[in-house]
């Protein structure tokens, strides 16, 4: 009857897959595991309490928020738009690539400009479409659709793989506190360092992939060979 202990894990997998309330799933899985694993009510509350306090490092984002909102108020997003706006005579693919570089560098410092809603839609997409028009072409609908997909993809790739470079980010903190009860002590700086080659590789490959894909599409729709 050992397998009954896995009930908690099953709850997590099914619960998340069915899009149930995340906090409800976690609490339910915690309660069920506490009973199947023989911790009982007392063990559950004590483990919950002590591990939460031990993992408080993960709430460091609250402290960071002390400036994030005020940076926004003082024009961070607008200045970022000016920065990327300095890019002239670039193809759509190059615009997306340049955004990937900028997004990645700032992600490593845990600075965000508002994602797809706040930055890609109002700033990157008009630049990418403007690049097609600058060459004297009427933007093709299917090309624009693909550009939107690529810009969102660049956004995701740069954010996911570069944010782990921020020492004190949620990803590293979660890995650190997952390993600790298992008996492995790791430092946040080392966790960030080990991701440097991964981040460089992933962002570079994504930039090349999107650049080539855009080039192919431009040739297909506009006969543009440059």
């Amino acid at each position: 009857m050992e397998w009954i202990k896995l009930l908690g894990i099953l709850i997590v997998i099914i619960g998340f897959a069915l899009k149930k309330d995340s906090i409800l799933i976690i609490m339910l899985a915690a309660i069920v595991t506490a009973f199947t694993g023989g911790l009982g009510v007392k063990g559950l509350l004590e483990t919950l309490g002590s591990s939460f306090v031990a993992n408080r490092s993960m709430v460091i984002f609250i402290l960071i928020m002390l400036v994030t909102g005020t940076l926004e108020r003082n024009g961070l997003k607008e200045s970022a738009a000016k920065l990327i706006g300095k890019l002239k005579n670039a193809s759509s693919g190059a615009v997306i690539g340049a955004y990937g570089v900028m997004r990645g560098i700032f992600a490593a410092f845990n600075v965000s400009f508002g994602g797809v809603a706040g930055f890609v839609r109002p700033i990157i997409m008009p630049m990418a479409i403007g690049a097609v028009e600058a060459k004297g072409h009427e933007p093709n609908e299917e090309h624009v659709e693909q550009l939107k997909g690529m810009a969102s993809g660049m956004e995701n790739v740069a954010w996911f793989f570069c944010q782990v470079l921020f020492v004190g980010g949620a990803g590293g903190l979660l890995v650190q506190s997952t390993l600790e009860p298992l008996g492995y002590k790791v430092e946040l700086l080392d966790l960030a360092k080990v991701e440097i080659p991964i981040a460089l590789f992933c962002v570079t490959v994504a930039i090349i992939y999107y650049y080539l894909k855009d080039k192919r599409l431009r040739k297909k729709y506009y006969g543009d060979t440059k």
Partner: protein, 314 residues
């Protein structure tokens, strides 16, 4: 008070504890502000959530584990019953942010980047650590913003952080709750059961096979669950520790890259709606899978690269 005068703790640990008290007070401020906010549709639930959280964060060290556990259960109740709401939002208007950007221009990036810079500087100092650096960086950023613009009064920072905290809401607690769940899984012996079951299928002691199963498993589980953070607690306890780390592999490389292997799964799944489906709507795309289709090839390449990296540098 004994903690702060004790010689058993480093200066870094003491500063960090002060930072926790500040963060706890910020959470409590969020609770109190919403309790008094007539525009908030659920004042009581919102206040209970943020205040309970603030107490555990700020003062948890001095509270017995049992009482902390009870406070956390109390905290999750309004979240589960959807009683944590946003009150009056005092967002900056675009004319103001535009004018500020024209005034400060690229200078705004100095405080923006200072947090990351100080995190690295302090991570290199023994006795301090990255999180103290984050605290110092935040302090420097606050000072710079006050120097740059006289409108940035202490109250502005507090109000802006309350606005952001209320916007992210209870889901911001997800990583912490998942980490606690991981601890409960470990305490309940879940890892041992999985290890025994998986051990019947894959050979024990073959670290390379273990790494491949762990990495691919992370990606697949993340695709099913839509969340790499949820997947990593389960997978590390069940597969990573018993099949890879137990044989002496480097926990830094294996533990951390498993997370980014999970991100490869995130790139491929509509379950991660925030990243893959919401943008489709926001950009008025025709194909619901339009973002994912532009990521699948990359995700495959990234996963293979990371598996090779893990095998080489284990």
């Amino acid at each position: 008070m004994g903690f702060f005068t004790s010689a058993d703790f480093t200066i870094g640990q003491k500063i960090l504890e002060v930072l926790y008290i500040i963060m706890g007070l910020m959470a409590i401020y969020t609770g109190v502000k919403n309790a008094r906010d007539e525009e908030n549709p659920s004042r009581l639930g919102t206040a209970v959530f943020w205040c309970a959280m603030g107490v555990v964060i700020g003062f948890g060290r001095w509270i017995p584990p049992m009482a902390n556990g009870i406070l956390i259960v109390i905290m999750t109740l309004p979240a589960i019953f959807k009683k944590v709401k946003i009150g009056k939002v005092d967002a900056p208007n675009t004319e103001y942010t535009k004018a500020m950007s024209d005034k400060l221009n690229m200078k705004i990036f100095i405080p923006a980047l200072s947090i990351g810079v100080f995190a690295i500087i302090f991570a290199l100092q023994p006795n301090y650590g990255a999180l103290v650096g984050v605290g110092v960086g935040v302090f420097v950023a606050v000072v710079l913003l006050i120097i740059f613009n006289k409108d940035n009064k202490p109250k502005v920072f507090l109000q802006d952080s309350e606005r952001l905290l209320s916007t992210v809401g209870p889901l911001s607690m997800l990583p912490m709750l998942l980490a606690s769940l991981g601890a409960i899984f470990t305490a309940g012996g879940v890892g041992d059961v999985i290890a025994e079951m998986v051990g019947k299928v894959i050979p024990k002691g073959n670290v390379t096979v273990g790494i491949i199963v762990f990495a691919v498993g992370m990606a697949v589980f993340t695709m099913i669950m839509g969340n790499a953070f949820a997947a990593i607690t389960v997978m590390t306890v069940g597969i990573g520790a018993p099949f890879v780390l137990a044989y002496g592999a480097d926990p830094v490389v294996i533990g951390m890259l498993a997370l980014t292997c999970g991100y490869c799964g995130t790139l491929c799944t509509p379950m991660a709606a925030n990243f893959n489906i919401v943008p489709v709507a926001m950009l008025d795309m025709k194909d619901r899978m339009g973002v994912i289709k532009n990521q699948v090839v990359l995700a495959g390449i990234f996963l293979v690269f990371q598996i090779c990296y893990m095998i080489i540098f284990k």
